[in-house]
């Protein structure tokens, strides 16, 4: 099944250029064409996870909201690099239900299962 063989890896910091958003756009495009990819946040990409305050009226749209929409597109699991969470002070962050921490063994498995890796 080619759908499981595409991995979209987002390592770019959110809100600092368009790279992270471009990665999510690509992931959603694969899903829209019936090929939901695996999605991995790593490096500064994990900074897209912390939710803003409910009353935030920040001009820049929240990427967390885009992440929250992934299950609607049959992207069931959002993988998050555990070491990156730790490095960015997010070790204790409560992840959304559709997300899961990936240790380095799991990261290696994700990479080895993919026949195409899109690196954002």
């Amino acid at each position: 099944m080619p759908s499981q063989e595409t991995l979209v890896r987002i390592a770019a910091a959110p809100y600092a250029g368009t790279r992270a958003r471009a990665g999510l756009d690509a992931a959603l495009a694969f899903a829209a064409f019936g090929q939901p990819p695996a999605v991995l946040l790593s490096g500064p990409g994990v900074l897209a996870l912390p939710p803003r305050q409910a009353n935030s009226s920040h001009g820049t749209p929240s990427l967390r909201k885009v992440l929250d929409s992934l299950p609607l597109y049959d992207i069931d699991t959002l993988w998050v690099c555990a070491a990156s969470l730790e490095r960015h002070g997010l070790a204790d962050l409560e992840l959304p239900a559709y997300a899961a921490r990936a240790d380095s063994a799991l990261l290696r498995r994700l990479l080895s299962e993919a026949s195409a890796v899109l690196s954002f």
């Binding site: 900074l47 912390p50 929240s62 730790e86």
Partner: protein, 96 residues
Amino acid sequence: MRLHCYSADINATAFDDLRASLEAGDCVLLTGPAVALARPGHPRSDALVDAPATVFALSEDLELYGVNDTDARIARVDYAGWLELALRMRSQVAWY
């Protein structure tokens, strides 16, 4: 009396270069992804707060990155506060 504006990844070597360049009286303003350092309990915050400088974080970016609670040793500033810092310090160094 310098204002160090730091927007790089906290884990970049620029962070070590920043720390090595600080002197008493300097101020550090964290912006962009670097505001993550202001989250309470960040593994690298002691390394900066213990340096001979006062540390600030840009409120707009704290909100952007969802840093809703901040380390009590790091003060929030808005752009008017940034301007104040720039006026008080003699020069500015951008780290990115």
